[in-house]
């Protein structure tokens, strides 16, 4: 059998919720919201999240321990991700900038290490919060 093509029921339930959300969701907030759909234990949510991250349908915002749906159709896997995070309202946006991704994907330093993945988080104030 080749790599999974379809999402399992639990994965789909979790993905639907994350995609509907306008803000990053935390695992236990997801759990609370899918309990009526039958996912009763943390592990069921974490398993779904793990798989969805692996296949690039969602990303984890590491500094917030929260998850967002990928809005970037060219982002099939979670191996080159960049986000902007407002430190006031906590709005998170996935950055889709080909120059940036090219620059980082090709980045090499003198450590002899070959990078195959990166995650970048920018922090600041969004337009709205800046003007308050």
């Amino acid at each position: 059998m080749q790599k999974q093509q379809y999402l399992t029921k639990n994965q789909q339930i979790v993905l639907d919720l994350v995609e509907k959300s306008s803000e990053p969701l935390k695992a236990y907030s997801i759990l609370f919201n899918v309990q009526k759909k039958g996912l009763k234990a943390p592990l069921q949510v974490y398993r779904a999240l793990d798989k969805l991250v692996e296949i690039g349908k969602i990303h984890k915002i590491e500094s917030r321990n929260a998850f967002v749906a990928c809005k970037n159709s060219s982002c099939q896997v979670s191996k080159a991700t960049a986000f902007s995070i407002c430190e006031s309202c906590e709005k998170v946006t996935e950055i889709n900038n080909s120059k940036l991704s090219k620059y980082l994907t090709n980045f090499e330093d003198n450590s002899g290490m070959k990078y195959n993945k990166y995650n970048l988080e920018f922090f600041g104030l969004c337009k709205k919060c800046k003007n308050k």
Copy 2:
């Protein structure tokens, strides 16, 4: 009184331990190791860590929930950090590359957001692990 110049006792104890370590340390591992020095509760460690991160003496590796001492003398505050992380042996190195930091510090996208901070984590295999 102006901004704190000297570290408190607890901060110094925690910093000493993190600086001595060749690998990122987790908060509860730090706690275990400083208990003989009198820091008995998680909060004492977390408070020290928070302050040390704030003043740039240490950095948090977000994807690992672990802390490393800053090896970069020009890095007074934790507002522009980049790390390479080996996914096999978990070795972490702070990247000190002025081109990269200049590029990211000056990065602007079309969101109207002004960034004042970023954190970048590269993943891959270090030289040693690559040749296994």
